[in-house]
């Protein structure tokens, strides 16, 4: 009987700790470190999305933010599950994508030289509409 309770205790401990969140600041910092030299962390996007249903558009994470003209921004992604793609839109069109679907090329990190101060949309999706979890980092690049 004692063995049973010992095993049960271990299982419950493992089960409980498996669901404890890792300090997200540490994860974000690790990802920010991967932005490369001259990058100063500005913001992070912690994204967890479900899979798309049949025939549905892939679920997306969207964040509107202000970017400033004459600044270089760098975006990098750290995937935990699935393959994230980051895109930037202005009010009418896509300006940047970290994935070129035609060639299959990935660009991580990718930089954006902003020439126009104003609101932009950052959109993160997962390739093929799979479920996924990732951290996106936006940094300011020192020249």
């Amino acid at each position: 009987m004692r063995t049973f309770y010992n095993i049960l205790a271990i299982v419950m401990f493992l089960g409980a700790t498996a669901f404890l969140p890792q300090d997200t600041s540490d994860e974000v910092m690790d990802c920010a470190d991967k932005a490369g030299k001259s990058a100063v962390y500005l913001k992070d996007f912690q994204v967890e999305l479900p899979a798309a249903g049949p025939g549905e558009r892939p679920p997306m994470f969207r964040q509107a933010l202000v970017l400033r003209g004459n600044n270089i921004y760098r975006f990098n992604l750290c995937n935990k599950q699935g393959e994230a793609v980051i895109r930037i839109y202005d009010s009418s069109r896509m300006l940047l994508s970290s994935y070129d679907a035609a060639s299959g090329e990935e660009y991580n990190p990718i930089q954006f030289l902003c020439q126009k101060t104003g609101p932009y949309n950052i959109v993160i999706t997962f390739k093929n509409g799979t479920s996924g979890e990732a951290i996106g980092i936006m940094s300011h690049v020192k020249r």
Binding site: F4, L8, V66, M94, I110, L113, P119
Partner: protein
């Protein structure tokens, strides 16, 4: 034997549930979002838009331009008491975050200690102290080769505080914090321009017209409150001057180049910012007056 079987079953069930994530690839084509989903309404702006004012972007730009550091541009943290109202404290917190960003960007971390102490008191009083690790920040500020970590931790704390204020129904305090960051950044840029007349900084000041317009939309939401009404009246005095700034754009197609082995997309829209000298002098003057008024200087 029965007990062992039960234990084994429990282990299998628990382990099985840990990896229960949907990894299959669904038959969904890779599509871009619907453009209609990307429109931001004015009403929703304070809930969805981020980075209206950044505590480090102006400082980073000044640093890039090799503009000399000066402590004279900074606010006096001793004049920002935690005995003020929550509104005042949120505003101070924003202004001091901006000053901390300036100190950090110029690696004047030793001088940052005084600011960290006041920021710590303000965060405790505003119930966002859990996102500001004073001991860690102080250690990083006094350590060797810890600047990158300090920059990250400072910015990350600021982001978390802002997110928490919004998530706990205190969007008004978040708006004040952002307002404080923005005006302190503008003050920094105007003071530097006043002394150096660097052309790039003139453009940075002109661009603030667009940021101020977004900021005012957010502040307007709370105008029924006396404190906001007073602050708004002052910020509209700054806007009056910015109304004389002309910004025109010529749309072009984005270009891509490779820089240091990394793809860079260049937004090919040429912009022209025209600020009459008289307007710029007025912006510098009114910014200083309003900034000093709200920071008890």
């Amino acid at each position: 034997m029965k007990q062992r079987s039960i234990a084994l079953l429990l282990v299998i069930l628990m382990l099985g549930s840990c990896g229960n994530r949907n990894k299959e690839t669904l038959p969904v084509s890779y599509e871009e979002p619907d453009p209609d989903e990307l429109v931001i309404s004015d009403e929703a702006m304070d809930e969805v838009i981020e980075n209206i004012a950044s505590p480090i972007e102006v400082a980073s730009l000044l640093n890039d331009l090799n503009v000399p550091f000066s402590v004279s541009y900074l606010a006096d943290p001793d004049k920002m008491s935690s005995y003020a109202t929550n509104y005042e404290m949120a505003y101070y917190l924003g202004a001091l975050s901006s000053d901390l960003g300036y100190l950090n960007m110029y690696n004047k971390t030793g001088s940052a200690i005084n600011y960290l102490g006041t920021i710590n008191k303000l965060t405790e009083a505003l119930d966002v102290g859990q996102f500001f690790d004073f001991v860690k920040m102080k250690r990083l500020a006094t350590g060797q080769n810890t600047l990158d970590s300090l920059l990250f931790v400072s910015m990350n704390s600021y982001n978390q505080m802002d997110d928490h204020l919004k998530a706990t129904g205190r969007g008004n305090l978040s708006a004040l914090m952002v307002s404080g960051v923005w005006l302190e950044g503008l003050y920094l840029a105007t003071q530097v321009y006043d002394k150096s007349e660097v052309e790039e900084i003139r453009d940075v000041i002109g661009q603030q017209k667009l940021i101020l317009n977004n900021l005012l939309i957010i502040m307007e939401k709370y105008k029924s409150d006396d404190y906001f009404a007073g602050l708004l009246a002052d910020y509209y005095l700054i806007k009056e001057q910015f109304d004389n700034v002309k910004i025109t754009y010529e749309i072009g197609e984005p270009k891509t180049v490779e820089v240091d082995g990394m793809l860079m997309v260049i937004q090919d829209e040429s912009s022209s910012i025209e600020i009459p000298d008289e307007t710029l002098s007025e912006i510098i003057k009114v910014t200083g007056l309003i900034r000093n008024k709200h920071l008890n200087i």
